[in-house]
Structures are given as structure tokens and as C-alpha cells.
């Protein structure tokens, strides 16, 4: 029973919502960026596991002819793109975070908001 529950899909949805908890409840800017990365990891796992089957071979090379099941190449192709976009958004937000930290000297969303109000 339990091994059936622990599969790629459920774990990925769990990971996604752990990430959502991170961005909703953590006030540390760095941790919210981490939460976002966890969301993206969960999404990648979700896409890769939705059509996964036991004993499927990769859709490339000579083995396809003899294989009974071939895995679905579309989610893999999509996820390579999503990973690239995810990395670049994380990189941009980390860069912004560094200059935000230099400006306000804090990693807390609420304090940044307060200081910003004072500086105006």
C-alpha cells in the first residue's frame, strides 16, 4: 500500500507545496528564492513522472526496435527548457537580491519594506 503512495507524482506535488509554503511563510528573502527553486524541482519531477512506465527505454538509439515500451520524449524536452528558464530566473533574482542587500542591509522582506518607506 505505502509504496504505491510514494511515487513520483505524489512526491512532486508534495515538493511543490513545500516550496509554496516557503514563499508564503518565510520572511527571509534568500529562503523565498530557495522555496521557488524547490517549486521548480517539484515541477520537473512531476512532468518526468506523469507518463513514466516500468521498463521503458529512452527514446533514442538502437534499443527502440526491440523494446516493448518507449518512454515519452515530450516531457523530457519540455523540462530541459523549463530547467534552463528556471536557472536563469533564479540567477536574476539572486543578482537582484545581492544589490537589494547592499542597499538596505537586511534579508527580511518586512524590514526592507519598512526601510523603503522611510527612505522615500
Amino acid at each position: 500500500m505505502i509504496p504505491k503512495i510514494i511515487n513520483g507524482e505524489n512526491i512532486s506535488i508534495l515538493l511543490f507545496f513545500i516550496g509554496v509554503y516557503g514563499v508564503c511563510a518565510r520572511r527571509n528573502i534568500f529562503k523565498t528564492i530557495m522555496g521557488l527553486s524547490i517549486m521548480q524541482a517539484g515541477l520537473v519531477l512531476f512532468f518526468l513522472s506523469i507518463h513514466a512506465m516500468e521498463g521503458a527505454v529512452p527514446p533514442i538509439g538502437q534499443d527502440i526496435m526491440n523494446a516493448a515500451v518507449v518512454s515519452d520524449p515530450v516531457p523530457q524536452a519540455l523540462m530541459i527548457t523549463a530547467v534552463v528558464v528556471g536557472i536563469s530566473t533564479t540567477a536574476v533574482s539572486l543578482t537582484m537580491f545581492i544589490s537589494l542587500y547592499h542597499k538596505y542591509g537586511t534579508t527580511n522582506w518586512v524590514k526592507v519594506k519598512k526601510k523603503r518607506g522611510e527612505m522615500d
Binding site: G19, C24, M39, F47, I50, K103, V110
Partner: protein
């Protein structure tokens, strides 16, 4: 011969990149030429498209396997608006100091991506395009590196990424159910589904992502930060409010039509539209910063568009689409004029801007045109589209709500009339506007007028709709307009202006965590509503 649709996407991006690398002397002229070309192609499409839709395959394979671009009347309208606005913005900023190679590259590639969003027929392409456009927008809104800009840019980027995470999860569930991701195939597959309830989860995930892009009721907190930020040049704010936020609305229309067989959310969105419109103008009234007033007003107008596109009658839906067009023009015009005003008066507080009429007659007249448009005066674009949005509602409560929304819009623009007609403090300085800027703001003001006065022409010949609202019947609306304006002035001047309620509304500002909480609650509320009503 039909021009290839790929031109809309590849042309601006390639030209922007080439100009960035080559450092040519004539860089600005080439940019303007590109814009003129793109605008004429979109004009060609809107005239010739009619009721048909043109599909162009990008790979030599039929649709579930390959990729395609599709243009129909809705996307042709959006493309026309997008390319018109970008043409105006590039001409406007020709002599501005920020207009360098990097800016042109970011700006033109943003144009290409927005064009691609309107042509795309694939959920995953939409996701990628929105993500990349979000990155380039967040760089553009921090362009001048002012004090607040980092916070604004980060909020914008991170909040949008969280929402797009929901969108991507929805795409995953769609792929799990159908095994395809393009609009056309999914639309044909939905009626054959045995259990239509499986659509509820992916639909509410997708709607959550798109609603944040369109800045609906609980999810609009990022919008004033992004659109009203001091660090963005006026042209960037104009593009964001004029067209980029409409991407969300456009996707909402598309999604409602794709899933309309299985899921009906019209009444849900109608209520959301009213809430968005009401809260938007309340926030706008309480603000004192000129750009923030305009930014909050975008939310209110998005609410009106949403009321239109989720209305029961065809006229309402047409009015919603027409309002996208007219709002795109007059809100961009507002942002351009606000840029000129901020530069002239060297302040962003609207109370300190006085005596514009003595400084410049031209800018005053253009500003009056824009105000008349947004408040829905007869003969102007806003009045034309608002007539169709409110068409055919008999319910007394709804009728009053429309009056209140319109009166609220009028009340929040009284401050702009004061800018024009108040007595100048000290000797009024002559307001200097460059020739290219003059041409652009005058063209856009003329467009505001034409979209209203010649509205019937556009409706009948371009959109092929049988509805009319000609100049004569527009005149009959004039007394109602004037009475409403008088009432709203009285209420604003004697009740609201110095009230505590407005100060309280002004002090509301959600933190980053609360915005995300709003996204999650919106998702669960949509899911709960769908599960109960389905």
C-alpha cells in the same frame, strides 16, 4: 501574398540583437523603420483577416506533433495595438538619454515576445514566453536604478514566478490527461472526455497563473509597484499598462473559449470583475503620486474589461475587447504625459503640479483628451466601449454599480483637472516638448478621439460586427455624463477628499508573503467554487 507570421516574432528580436552587436550610427533610425514595418504588417492583417483564422505550421508536421502560429480577429486586434504602441514609444524616446543599445535590445525583444504570445497556440510556449518576458520586464522596470527599484523589481519577478509555477503545474495535469499541449487539439478533445471533472484541477491552476498576470481582485498588489515605479522610464510604464497586462486578459479569453464546453466560470468572473473595478478606483483615489494613480487605475479598467468579456451578450464581449484597445491607447498616453509632467515639475506629487494650462496649451489639451476618454465621455474611445460593456443590463443593482464605477473613475481624475486649471505657483515656466514627442502624443490623442467618434466604422468594417453606437446617439449620453461628473465632484470634494477612509486605504500595502498567500487562497477558492458548482 500573406506575410509570414514568424516575422512578428523574429524581426524585432533579430534587429534588436543586431543593433546591440553592431553599434551602428543609424541605430535609432533602423529601430523606427522596423517598427513602421511591423505596424504596417499588423494593419494589413487586421484589414484582411475578416472572420477567418490563418494557421501557419512552423515544423513540417501536423498539429499535435509540430508547432504552429495562428492569427484570428482577436489576436490581430491585439497585434495591431501592440505594434502601434511600440511604434509610438520608440519614436517618443528617440532623444531621451536612456535610449541606448541595451534599452533598444530589451525593448524590441519584449515586443517580439508579446507578439509571440498573441500568436502562440501552445500552452508550454505561452509559459516560456511569459517567463522570458517577465525577466526582461523586470530589468526594464529597474532601468534607472533608483532607490525603490530593487524592491519593486524583485517583488514583480518573484511573485510572477510563483504564479507561473502554478501555471506550469496546470500544464502538467493537462498533459497527463490529454497527452497534447496545443490549444486546437485540446479544444477538440474536451467534449470526448468521459469524466469532465478531471478538468477542474488543471483549469483552476491555469486560471490562477493567468489571473495574476491580468491583475484580478486579490492578486493585483504587484501591479502598482511594477507599473508605478519611479525607476522605469515613462515608455516602459506605458507598455506595461498599455499592452503587457492585457496578455493576461487575452489568455483569459482564450482559455475561457477553449474550456467553455466543460467549464463555465462566467458569473464567477463577472463578480470578480466588479470587485476589481471597485477596489481599483478606491485605491486610485487615495494616492497622491501621479504614476501610482495611473497604475491603480489600470486595475480598475481591467475590472471593466473583465466584466465585458464575461458578460452574457455578444455586445458585452465585443465591448470588452474594444475596451482593451481603447484602454491601451489612452493609458499609454497618460503615462507619457505623466513622464513629461514629472520631468517639468521635478516632482511626482500631483498636488505640487500646478498651472499646466499656462505652461503648455498642447500638453493640456492632450491630457484633457485622455481624461475624457478614460471617464467615458461621448465621442471618445472609453465612452464607446463602456456603452457596449454596460449594454443590456436590466438589473437595478448592476446598473447602479456601473454608475458608481464610472463616478469613481471621474472622481479620481479630478486631481488631473486641477493640474491643468489651478493657478500656477510662481511664474509659469514654458514647458518644452521635443517635436517627436509632440507628434506621438498628438497621434495618440487623435486615436482616442477616432476610436470613439469613428467607432462604428471600425466596428462594422474591421470587426464585421453589426452593432452601432453612432455620433447622434452618443450626444444623448452627454447630459448623463455631465450629471455624473458633477455628482462625483461634489462627493469627492465634500465627503471623500480628506476622509480617514482614504488614508486607511492608502496605508494598505501587502508584503511579499501576503501576496503569495493571496495567490494560494485564490487557487483554492477557484477550485472550491468549481467543485461545488460543477
Amino acid at each position: 501574398m500573406t506575410p509570414h507570421l514568424l516575422m512578428f516574432i523574429m524581426f524585432p528580436i533579430t534587429i534588436g540583437l543586431l543593433l546591440y552587436i553592431l553599434k551602428h550610427r543609424l541605430i535609432k533610425i533602423i529601430a523606427v523603420a522596423t517598427e513602421i514595418l511591423l505596424f504596417s504588417i499588423s494593419l494589413w492583417y487586421i484589414i484582411n483577416i475578416g472572420d477567418q483564422s490563418i494557421m501557419m505550421l512552423l515544423v513540417n508536421a501536423p498539429l499535435p506533433y509540430g508547432m504552429a502560429l495562428r492569427i484570428d480577429q482577436l489576436s490581430a486586434t491585439m497585434l495591431l495595438l501592440n505594434n502601434f504602441l511600440f511604434l509610438c514609444m520608440v519614436v517618443y524616446s528617440l532623444k531621451r538619454p536612456y535610449m541606448n543599445r541595451l534599452f533598444i535590445f530589451l525593448f524590441l525583444s519584449l515586443q517580439g515576445m508579446i507578439n509571440a504570445l498573441f500568436l502562440s497556440t501552445d500552452f508550454f510556449n505561452v509559459y516560456i514566453l511569459i517567463e522570458v518576458a517577465t525577466i526582461s520586464v523586470s530589468i526594464l522596470i529597474m532601468y534607472k536604478k533608483d532607490s525603490q527599484s530593487m524592491y519593486d523589481g524583485m517583488i514583480y519577478l518573484l511573485v510572477n514566478m510563483v504564479a507561473m509555477g502554478f501555471f506550469l503545474l496546470g500544464i502538467g495535469f493537462l498533459y497527463k490527461t490529454f497527452g497534447v499541449l496545443d490549444f486546437v487539439t485540446i479544444e477538440t478533445l474536451i467534449p470526448n472526455l468521459e469524466n469532465k471533472r478531471v478538468m477542474l484541477l488543471p483549469f483552476s491552476l491555469l486560471i490562477t497563473g493567468v489571473s495574476l498576470k491580468a491583475a484580478l481582485m486579490p492578486l493585483f498588489s504587484w501591479l502598482p509597484k511594477a507599473h508605478g515605479t519611479a525607476s522605469a522610464p515613462a515608455v516602459v510604464s506605458a507598455i506595461l499598462s498599455g499592452i503587457f497586462v492585457k496578455v493576461g486578459v487575452y489568455l483569459l479569453i482564450r482559455m475561457m473559449s477553449i474550456f467553455s464546453v466543460a467549464i463555465d466560470l462566467q458569473s464567477f468572473f463577472l463578480v470578480l470583475g466588479f470587485l476589481t473595478a471597485l477596489s481599483g478606483f478606491m485605491f486610485a483615489m487615495s494616492q497622491t503620486d501621479i504614476k501610482l494613480i495611473l497604475a491603480y487605475h489600470t486595475i480598475s479598467q481591467i475590472g471593466l474589461i473583465l466584466i465585458g468579456i464575461s458578460g452574457m451578450r455578444d455586445q458585452n464581449n465585443f465591448g470588452g475587447v474594444y475596451h482593451i484597445l481603447s484602454h491601451g491607447v489612452f493609458k499609454s498616453l497618460f503615462f507619457l504625459v505623466s513622464g513629461i509632467l514629472v520631468q517639468h515639475f521635478k516632482t511626482r506629487k500631483i498636488k505640487n503640479m500646478t498651472g499646466l494650462w499656462q505652461s503648455s496649451k498642447l500638453v493640456s489639451i492632450v491630457l484633457i483628451f485622455a481624461i475624457l476618454s478614460i471617464t467615458g465621455a461621448p465621442f471618445f474611445s472609453g465612452g464607446y466601449s463602456k456603452y457596449f460593456i454596460t449594454y443590456g443590463y436590466d438589473n437595478a443593482v448592476l446598473k447602479w454599480l456601473f454608475v458608481i464605477i464610472n463616478a469613481g473613475t471621474m472622481a479620481s481624475f479630478i486631481k488631473f483637472f486641477r493640474v491643468i486649471f489651478s493657478k500656477p505657483i510662481g511664474k509659469p515656466e514654458k514647458l518644452h516638448v521635443d517635436v517627436n514627442q509632440k507628434v506621438v502624443i498628438m497621434t495618440m490623442a487623435a486615436a482616442c478621439f477616432l476610436l470613439g467618434f469613428g467607432g462604428d466604422l471600425i466596428t462594422n468594417t474591421i470587426h464585421h460586427q453589426p452593432y452601432t453606437f453612432d455620433a447622434l446617439s452618443q450626444i444623448t449620453k452627454l447630459p448623463i455624463y455631465l450629471t455624473t461628473y458633477l455628482m462625483s465632484y461634489m462627493v469627492f470634494r465634500y465627503v471623500l477628499e480628506n476622509s480617514k477612509a482614504l488614508k486607511f486605504i492608502k496605508s494598505i500595502e501587502l508584503s511579499f508573503n501576503s501576496i503569495n498567500l493571496a495567490i494560494v487562497s485564490f487557487f483554492f477558492a477557484t477550485l472550491a467554487y468549481l467543485t461545488i458548482t460543477f
